[in-house]
Subunit: 679 residues, 2 copies
């Protein structure tokens, strides 16, 4: 597992199988290199400091030994770092490297027939009585001598001496020692004859983000609801920032902050007949005051926004903006760039429709228009504009209704200039489309979590997310609620349902978010039966929230976020494991940090109405726990400590008093021979 890059650097051999004077003699095949997405068309993703474990099938013809190396480099570097790969068996090889910096890395694999290793192996199997031995030793000496000519200084002299020893007067046993010597072998690997080296046919890419891409807690709110008067301004949000930071979130995500259109403006609860003071939907972007690069005057000025970003940053919060590429009929683009929209036979511009529904307040862009190139350029400039204002995170609205090539181009271009920028895809659509958006570059992705409420659904879905090949590029960001989605589980489950869903979101996934204060105030009222829309939704009106209500989940959320920060096990997704419980209403899963130093076990009662109990069954081997002693389960939510014995243990959870345990597993329990209380 050591990551000791040799100082020697080589070029990856990328010529095709049979070309040039060496082609036909390139006898080693390299195939099935992993990780790799769609034949290398898309990069895998990592954050700074993570490992990339690379495996490949490599083999040659005949009985010759081969050597196999992993090559990697930062994309901007010329030279490759090289690491020897280890044979796992069945012609599978493995090595790993760590990505140290934000940006892009390349990796590939090379291999060659290793005549020196072949010779050593051959020599080992020859008895001392073999009449051919002198000649065999001479052949080995020739290989070493050739390598000596490729080496320099001390190393060259050492190899030269080894070659001479093989053919000199020394007794056979000493010559066998020369062949068996590991340092000689190391030098022979470094200075190997690589004339017929085979390079894997492509270089693979890993995009490296900052850590927030993997581990983040998001809080979405409407700044306009923060005012004392009728419409909150950025300047009114300072207490809200304190409140959010106090709960331990990392990212504050704002719905669009731009001027809102007046034509066909929607009223409260989405009615088509607004009153004159109705504030409209922030997603109906654009008015006489400006479009996607302007700040809604009722929220403040651009300067106010920049101050808001700075205030957030001072509290350890980053601001994420909403990128919604659509226009209200009042957007300046409509008049300045009519060619970017679709025109109907009567000359009017086509508004959004999903028959029989009409969205006359929204004009989509026509990405098939002749002026698509100027449209793309302008849309990218919006992102760049907000980057210049200090924003580094964008939550992209409905990316699946814009062309895939557009996103691939935009994200790639932006990230090459600003590799610390993160994009979250709000694509609630079919699975393959969501995966395509993640593959082409979105940093994080919304998921189906909102609609996965039963134990079976949760296990199936998170197994797919964390064990499927999608994990190399699809980073889930799970939300129990959004301004668009108040699931029935929350509508009818009361306060316990909110605690349950928060616990699941924050512990099943390393990245999660809530739309507040609706969430922590357990707002469960839907507009109408069967609808997932909020009653009196903030999308269409200003709300006043009683943040200090006694039944607020503020403290609970703050505690869960603190547990996340203190436990590395909860900061990544791949080591999630589900465990058996003999009750379908109780789900149990664990997460571990790389070295098992941190093991977190979560047990949640999914029934928000009734007390549930059952027997949890743990794979003690996996956790490196013996069966001969009890171990301690420390509930980080309550502080309670339980002694558990063996694999099966009893749990009981009352949704009213506490629907979940978040245990830290402490390995050993004190015995008279132990000095320290706990490991």
């Amino acid at each position: 597992m050591a990551n000791t890059a040799t100082s020697k650097k080589t070029r990856a051999a990328t010529e095709s199988a049979v070309t040039g004077s060496t082609g036909g003699r390139r006898r080693v095949v390299i195939e099935n290199v992993r990780p790799q997405i769609d034949d290398g068309r898309f990069p895998i993703k990592r954050v700074v400091g993570e490992r990339v474990v690379v495996e490949a099938d490599a083999f040659g013809d005949g009985h010759d030994r081969i050597s196999c190396v992993l090559l990697y480099r930062r994309e901007q570097d010329q030279d490759w770092q090289e690491l020897p790969m280890r044979l796992l068996g069945n012609d599978r090889w493995r090595a790993e490297f760590r990505v140290a910096e934000i940006g892009r890395y390349r990796y590939s694999v090379s291999a060659w027939v290793d005549h020196y290793e072949t010779w050593r192996h051959d020599l080992e199997r020859r008895p001392d009585t073999d009449r051919d031995l002198p000649m065999v030793l001479q052949m080995g000496a020739a290989l070493i001598e050739a390598a000596a000519h490729r080496a320099r200084g001390l190393e060259a002299r050492r190899l030269q001496a080894a070659a001479e020893a093989l053919t000199g007067e020394a007794p056979l046993v000493e010559k066998r020692h020369v062949a068996g010597d590991d340092e000689n072998a190391r030098l022979m690997h470094r200075y190997a004859e690589r004339r017929f080296i085979a390079g894997y046919e492509r270089e693979l890419t890993v995009v490296v983000d900052r850590e927030l891409a993997r581990f983040s807690a998001w809080y979405e709110f409407f700044p306009r609801s923060c005012g004392e008067g009728s419409h909150g301004r950025f300047a009114d949000c300072e207490p809200m920032l304190d409140y959010i930071a106090g709960m331990g979130f990392d990212v504050v995500y704002l719905p669009p902050i731009h001027p809102i259109g007046h034509k066909f403006r929607k009223g409260r609860n989405n009615v088509l007949t607004p009153e004159s003071h109705d504030v409209g939907s922030p997603w109906a972007i654009g008015g006489p005051e400006g479009g996607h690069k302007a700040v809604h005057p009722e929220l403040g000025t651009l300067e106010d926004f920049r101050r808001f970003v700075a205030s957030a940053r001072a509290r350890g919060l980053e601001v994420a903006l909403d990128i919604a590429y659509q226009c209200s009929p009042d957007h300046p683009y409509v008049h300045e760039h009519p060619q970017w929209f679709r025109h109907r036979p009567d000359g009017s511009i086509q508004y959004a429709e999903n028959p029989p529904k009409k969205y006359q307040d929204i004009y989509p862009f026509d990405f098939e228009c002749e002026a698509w190139e100027s449209l793309w350029t302008e849309l990218k400039s919006i992102v760049e504009f907000w980057i210049e204002q200090g924003v580094r995170i964008f939550r992209v609205d409905n990316p699946h209704t814009k062309p895939f090539p557009f996103w691939a181009w935009l994200i790639d271009d932006v990230k090459r200039a600003y590799p610390d920028v993160l994009f979250l895809a709000e694509a609630f659509t079919r699975p393959k489309i969501m995966h395509r958006l993640a593959k082409l570059g979105f940093t994080q992705s919304y998921t189906y979590f909102t609609w996965r409420n039963s134990k079976g659904e949760l296990i199936d879905y998170f197994t797919e997310l964390t064990r499927g090949q999608g994990r190399e590029y699809f980073r889930p960001n799970v939300w129990p609620n959004t301004p668009d989605i108040l699931n029935e589980y929350l509508q009818f489950g009361g306060r316990a349902a909110f605690m349950i869903r928060l616990t699941l979101a924050a512990t099943l996934a390393a990245s999660y978010g809530i739309y507040g204060p609706a969430f922590e105030l357990a707002e469960g009222a839907a507009r109408e039966p069967g609808s997932e829309e909020y009653l009196d939704s903030e999308k269409y009106q200003v709300r006043r929230w009683q943040l200090t209500r006694a039944d607020s989940l503020h403290d609970f959320v703050a505690l869960v976020n603190r547990i996340r920060r203190e436990n590395p096990a909860l900061q990544s997704d791949w080591d999630l494991r589900f465990h058996a419980v003999d009750n379908d209403k109780i789900i149990c899963f664990s997460k571990t940090a790389e070295d098992l130093e941190d093991i977190v076990l979560v047990v949640v009662n999914l029934d928000p109405h009734h007390r549930q109990s059952g027997w949890v069954e743990l794979p003690l081997d996996t956790f490196n726990i013996g069966t001969e002693r009890p171990y301690q389960m420390h509930d980080l939510l309550t502080g309670a400590r339980y002694l558990w014995y063996g694999a099966r243990n009893y749990v009981e959870l009352d949704p009213q008093s506490g629907p979940a345990h978040i245990f830290r597993l402490r390995r050993r329990v004190r015995r008279e021979h132990d000095f320290d209380y706990f490991l």
Copy 2:
């Protein structure tokens, strides 16, 4: 399932995602196209008349409908045939075509946003009261009119009329009929606006062989054992050809027929000290009389060989030659092309070694030599030489000890000139190497069958062979014995073991072979305990076989081969299914022909020593059999007919009298209402 190629032909769009003026507007993504081997690097395989079922993921952004087509063509053709693909759900599309000719075909997938289908779907959902309806109809008319301009004659006029009907004075219901009309839809598909068509990024290839590539029975024998005197000649083999044809084989495979070296010739039972009359191993190729293009004088002349080939053909047999690229020290190449061999420090040529074993009678070629190009050319010319003598099948000896690029080049080159040539890879080596050889072009492959004797081993291995992705390129040819391998199962199982293994080979796999007469005479004597070498192996000496022995399995083999020929179910590998039996010594499996017209059920007692019995459990649904009536099992080996009831039925097999059933399943049993006896 219909294979109705439209007469219209289009070019496959293969431009990359974002290029040219349309690139950014190519909104459809096509991915995960199957079948496909290693990102399309290798072709899949079919025989003439087989289907290629192609599936692809295809989807666009937004809510627009897309259309998806399968494109295929013979490699030498310019124009593509086009077939509409059908949406299976979850953005997966499917269509299929049949390969009609030997050679190479290409296939790919294209898709586009279908504005007409999108419009039709939109229109369907609009109520009659929608105020926008006139404009919507006008937009549809514009689409149809544009298509009319791309069409000609009657079709153009029909489309023009449809466009006019949509905007004319007719009542709305009639206009809806125009949009609903299937013939209009068909024309709109044919003349669709394909300006932004997306082509799958690569063309995939299928190599189409003649039927023998999929379904073949091979018989290997040593012509030198056919003589009346000391060394048989081709002219002596006529009775042997009658005998082999009488057993119903398709292919007669001969060990190398070339002059045999004298230097370091091996004697009987592989001793290093031959006697002067010892005939040597046919694999020690080359002597003063010639090399790989010569016929061993003791077998006859080249003319005699050609006559042998013609004699075989007259009996419905094809001759397969052994291609063993290695030389005896007496081979003319050794003197004429010393640069093709590896030289040791003393100037001698390196013989084959696997320390401590030495094979001084064999010089391997050095594929890393500087003259590799002339070596390749010469080796290919050997195959071409024998093709000119009428040979079309080659069994290649140890292909895994020669470079993969060499084989890829040789096979591709030969098959482009002679697409009916078949190559069988005799690579008993590690799995990935065997698969690579199959991928790069070998028509059929030897397998691990010889060492798979227990029920679990057989089920695992044949499930992998017939259900794994390897089935697209790896065509198993299974051998119960070869001159190199007399497995212990045969050594100790007696005559019953040979019947068991023959039944398994001939029914589990569509292609199989035996090395005879050792096989049908149940020759079970090994050279020494623990060895798989035959005692008195024909590799080193001439044998006399008593073909007419009463205990010969000749008639049994003939019967099994006849059953294979009469039952299409046994002529391909993909529809193999294993069925449960509550006895580990009894294996049960079925094969079906495409349309369930032929269902063969095989039950074999794997214990050659004891009578075994058990309950077989069949999936009646799969066979389209109801549970309400009995069905008839017709044992094709004995002629016996059994009535079976329901899913579970009893079997009992005595290895001495008959260790296997090969049932043909006849669906229905006569009832008083039936007119015909059996379906």
